[in-house]
Symmetry: C2
């Protein structure tokens, strides 16, 4: 946890309401950090459904493998998350730690083993001493309260400089339901200290398959459209829990149910808000960068080009240097390997067109662009003139602080 | 051109011999730099063959398009290279500048227009004032001398901190032939100031199709196995010229000719030497990093995993911090998307095994590893235990200086 809060941190932190059917507790188990909480326990009422999306890494952590396996039943009663140790690349010890943690949590919460979900974030390759949870589990169950979402977000931080929370309300039929989310990020990954975890809680009553479909649709243009450094964690985990405990909540079986219209919008809002906060807390970030690509041959082509720009070290360092270096944007478009024609390419920084049809736009004023580049939020737009494909991703700049955070801390 | 030479620069710079049939001249045309040469002219005797490999960028520079087009005849009489301006993303002006330069060069050299080859490196998107070449072309033709390879290497530098030259000799039949090469790099690309250019010269007599095949085979494990930042230039160009002027040189028609055995080895040596120098002069580099992946399902799978490690900002910053952070290596293996099994993975830094079969190797000594990480040259080996695929790539670390070079110079 850094002592200096990111200059891009949101100014407004919402009051997080309670969610019917969810109780939360945090504790300091001393996994790695001193003088702060590092374990979160969430308890869910019987009938709670769960869905998840996970890292595509071929070397996932032990908790990711546990969650994938237990996801089949679609039922959840407890969630245990720790910071300070990712329990990744820990072999048999890792599996033992996962089994042990699930066992003590199921016992304390009075539920089945396969209704317990787990996530860990922190150092890779160090054995996780799960016995430390044993001393705090019963007390957490006893202490758990409905309105502890900000505390929950704090307990799961690693190199994050601020806790990430978001909330929204929606109507489903006659019921008003709430969606709360918490996240941690910092680097898209920084395997020694971080990873991306997010947990979404709602009191809507939605069957597990429908919840899975909602979540999968929801991440496409939110969590999957954010990159800090192009590195992919072994532990990335996004879990969503629906307790069904909201008053008069109708039981929804299918994601296509028209009554979900407002809920889908609210869910997208929570996911977009949290994923933007992850970009805002990119390690060493001083600029939030929104990259829009339009006129590509398809949305997926636009996504690949936008990601090529967003992950280019040369584009990211130029933005850190407040330099509207569209030459590097051309390079990143060119290297994406997607259909593009230099002579149709136009590029804007902060709404100012700097390049047009394959050449520098002669009309732009260097001072105007310079003023745009000094802002903490930069929009970069590329028009390809090839088709109707459009997409948008979020990233941040690449600063010397990124190198310091990731290169200096063990030296 | 940086004032401080990379600490990884080779200590030994070879005397570059003359190549029969090649004459070189350099001049200061004042394209961008002051007080240094920025144009190279190479003249070739009639009968010289040429082959080239170019950037895969979808937005290539005007000179790249020119060379690709003129390559068809396989004949070359002149090469003009300038530094200071890449003539990329310059639209019609770029094509005009290319045509103009080729015209004055063909006139001065007394050859056909399509026997002139061109390359430019430097700023993207700024119109290249090719008229500046007009004042120096005739004098360069008059001044051209056979043994000016080091001067040639200096004239094409941009953010390079040292000129890059290599030479080797080989027997073909009864003839002794020479291969000289020059290169510039710095960033694999830094489009505002740099790109990767390399030119290979030999007095062997090799037909253009055979030369193409030799070059294409030669780059696979040399120039194509080097990455600085994963960014791909709009201008990357590697041209090879064979004059056939060596005494008694037999005319070789096919790359499969057994008389080429020693020549192939010597060519590989020159290409490997030059591409390693490019990595050694990576922008801000303090460590040369050799990444070997073995036990992959195929060589191409090993290459993709090695490149995923080599391009990972988190691996590169860890090495900059002299931290044998194998957790990040696991992450980079995992994100490559290639077949891998965490529980069979082993990782070595400088020959010391730090992770074995999915866990930290309990036997390694932190102090030994620490000593290895302090060296300027680091070897990193990953064994996957999946098959027999093996590959090796070169890269460098990611330092604050990289960010400074690429982020600060216009601010």
């Amino acid at each position: 946890m850094s002592s200096q809060v990111s200059p891009l941190a949101p100014i407004y932190v919402p009051d997080m309401p309670a969610i019917a059917g969810v109780r939360l507790a945090t504790a300091a188990a001393g996994i790695k950090y001193v003088g702060r909480t590092d374990v979160l326990l969430a308890l869910f009422e019987p009938g709670t459904t769960v869905a998840g999306v996970f890292t595509r890494s071929k070397c996932p952590s032990a908790p990711v493998e546990w969650c994938r396996d237990k996801m089949k039943t679609g039922k959840a009663r407890a969630l245990v998350v720790n910071s300070g140790n990712a329990n990744a690349f820990t072999g048999k010890n890792g599996r033992d730690a996962v089994n042990f943690t699930a066992r003590i949590a199921s016992k304390a919460a009075g539920c089945k083993l396969n209704e317990v979900f787990l996530a860990s974030t922190g150092v890779i390759g160090e054995p996780l001493k799960a016995s430390a949870f044993d001393g705090v589990m019963d007390k957490m169950v006893a202490d758990a309260l409905p309105n502890r979402f900000l505390d929950a977000a704090k307990a799961i931080m690693t190199t994050d400089t601020f806790p990430k929370v978001a909330t929204a309300r929606a109507r489903i039929g006659k019921a008003t339901v709430t969606i709360n989310g918490i996240a941690k990020g910092a680097g898209m990954i920084a395997p020694d200290m971080a990873t991306m975890l997010s947990f979404i809680f709602t009191d809507a009553a939605i069957a597990a398959p429908a919840l899975r479909s909602l979540l999968s649709d929801g991440v496409t243009d939110t969590f999957n459209a954010v990159t800090i450094d192009g590195d992919t964690s072994t532990s990335d985990t996004l879990l969503m829990f629906a307790t069904g405990a909201a008053k008069n909540a109708p039981r929804i079986a299918r994601a296509s149910d028209p009554r979900l219209k407002a809920f889908k919008k609210a869910l997208l809002q929570v996911l977009a808000n949290l994923s933007e906060q992850v970009a805002r807390d990119g390690e060493g970030a001083r600029k939030l960068v929104e990259i829009t690509v339009e006129g590509a041959v398809s949305k997926s082509s636009a996504r690949r080009i936008a990601m090529s720009i967003a992950n280019s070290p040369l584009v990211k360092t130029a933005i850190a240097g407040e330099d509207a270096n569209w030459g590097r944007v051309v390079m990143a478009v060119g290297k994406a390997g997607e259909p593009a024609d230099r002579d149709r390419l136009s590029i804007w920084f902060g709404g100012i067109r700097v390049a047009h049809k394959g050449e520098r736009d002669p009309s732009y004023d260097e001072q105007d662009v310079s003023a745009v580049m000094k802002k903490p939020e930069i929009s970069l737009k590329v028009a390809l003139g090839m088709g109707k494909g459009r997409d948008r991703v979020l990233t941040c700049d690449l600063t010397k602080e990124y190198v310091a955070i990731n290169g200096d801390y063990r030296s």
